[in-house]
Amino acid sequence: MAESLLSLDDLAVHFKVGNSFAGGVKTLKAVDGVTLDVKPGECLGLVGESGCGKSTLALAIMGLLLPTRGTIGIDGQQISGTTPPDRMKMARTVQMVFQDPYASLNPRQTVRRTLADPLRLHGITDKAEVEARVIDMMAKVGLRAEQADRYPHEFSGGQRQRIGIARALILKPKLVLCDEPVSALDVSIRAQIINLLLELKDEMGLAYIMISHDLGVVEHVSDRVAVMYLGRIVEQGGWQEIFENPRHPYTRALIAAIPDPFHRAAISADAKARGEIASALNPPPGCHFNPRCPLKADVCVAEYPSFDEVSPGHRAACHFRDRVG
């Protein structure tokens, strides 16, 4: 079995909010016990709605937030609450593509500088080599060399996202975390960026974590899929298993919620979730999804379900995992 590129072991990231004066200090358990791994060259799709903790998880994986509990292993490096990451080494291993192309580029830097500075920072001082790598990367993402001296505001949203991708790949990382890379783009150019990301993955042998709320995108790009709800993974498995045979009511609710003009989904409309997403400050007792779950029973409130296998490689945290669907 191939060595994991990324392995999260019972990762938790908690925040303290409030203060002693105004209602006391509460703990926000943004990420609360996530165990995951990503192999080299693999694409893991991470699905979840607001409050599920995927952004916090992303920051922790990038080494920007220290874990409260658990460990993160990236390409041999171990990060935990007491062992901060080696930032320079991390930079050459894992990078990120951001959601908002309008806020993720320094408006006062040309493309050339945005791409060249990291190279220089990491010890590549030969001017010719820096220039060559910058132009090469720009070509790979579909930008022309003569655009190198332009500023971000001179580009469209799709082009800015390409620059962001180029920046993420300039140091030749092994793992790229894509946080909703196409949600902020016009619908007609999403395909361009998705195709580009997949091409680059194959060409450069990258592993991806694709965070998206768009299940269509997740199904298209992922090898494996993990579904998050209120800080925990509730279901995980191969892409086909998850979409054709989802075993957690939340996954089924997500699929049922997608408008389905071709009537192709395997899920019927009564799998839809009811009510609002709870706050991570005050998660419901037992299974976090129980207030919204069509299958809710007493055991769901009493006890948090174990994250057990439904079939090899496919796990779900639901008391009724074998009966669902």
């Binding site: 920007l64 991390m90 993720s104 990491h122």
Partner: protein, 284 residues
């Protein structure tokens, strides 16, 4: 907002603010530097009580003051004082304020608490009073004046810098820089600072004007530039009682301050636009 004058087929680069403001400030600086050559008389020594309070005429273009000294010459020499006080003290304030604000906003935590506390303290004490206290210790004179004014008005730039940093911190490109391995200082000075310059430049130029006016107050109280040495502020203060009887005594120093401060503000506007790659008045 800068205005862009459109002379047919010639668009002024940088907008007219940059040029008009720059021009005014350049005139003031030139006056200060060339004082020994363009002044008509010695501003201190050539005092002839026989010539007291003569309105503007051919011999004395701006008239004379109560001691019979040529006001034009005093204004030209006074430029040295006002400009050095204004510019140097504000540069000092900006350096202190921006460094504190930048680091407080970026690092947060206890350092932010310390800086915010200090800033609140500074804002609570009228800066003039604080400057007075420092001058009382250091004694009067140009150097003490610059030090006093340079250490007491940094809270504005600090506040603004901190607020700007807080709003920029969560921008994708700052996170990207951290992920690319940029160190904190590098991020603060190469990523954040260039993007918050706009308001800081405006504050700096406004502050220069304020410093020039503060100098007037302190000089009047005898703690700044003591007579007979000329400074625009002290000239203005000395002429207060004669505004109706001998208006030229206050009008010319007043105009000098007015045009210099106006020039600084316009220059600040123009510079802010010039450095902003998205501004339409920028060339290119």
């Amino acid at each position: 907002m800068s205005l862009a004058l459109k002379i047919p087929r010639l668009r002024l680069k940088g907008g007219s603010s940059l040029w008009v403001g720059g021009g005014l400030v350049a005139i003031a600086i030139a006056a200060a530097l060339l004082a020994p050559w363009i002044a008509l008389t010695d501003p201190v020594l050539d005092a002839n009580l026989m010539n007291a309070e003569i309105p503007p005429c051919w011999e004395f273009p701006f008239g004379t003051d109560a001691q019979g000294r040529d006001i034009y010459s005093r204004i030209v020499w006074g430029a040295r004082v006002s400009l050095s006080v204004g510019i140097i003290s504000q540069v000092c304030n900006s350096l202190i304020g921006v460094t504190l604000g930048l680091t407080a906003g970026y690092w947060g935590g206890w350092w932010d608490d310390v800086v915010s506390g200090l800033t609140n303290l500074m804002l609570a004490i009228p800066s003039l009073v604080f400057a007075l206290a420092i001058m009382a210790i250091l004694g009067p004179g140009l150097v003490s004046l610059v030090i006093a004014l340079g250490l007491t008005s940094w809270s504005y730039s600090c506040r603004i810098a901190r607020a700007q940093v807080l709003s920029l911190k969560s921008q994708g490109y700052i996170q990207a820089a951290r992920i690319l391995g940029y160190g904190d200082l590098r991020i603060m000075f190469t990523q954040i600072l260039p993007n918050i310059l706009g308001p800081l430049i405006v504050i700096a130029t406004l502050g220069m004007g304020g410093a020039i006016l503060a100098e007037a107050a302190l000089s009047f109280l005898g703690l700044g530039i003591r007579p007979p040495f000329p400074s625009w502020g002290s000239m203005l203060s000395e002429a207060r009682d004669q505004i109706t009887t001998a208006p030229w005594l206050s009008v010319f120093p007043g105009l000098a301050i007015f045009f210099t401060v106006l020039g600084l503000n316009l220059l600040g506007d123009g510079l802010r636009d010039y450095f902003d790659p998205q501004s339409t008045t920028r060339r290119g």
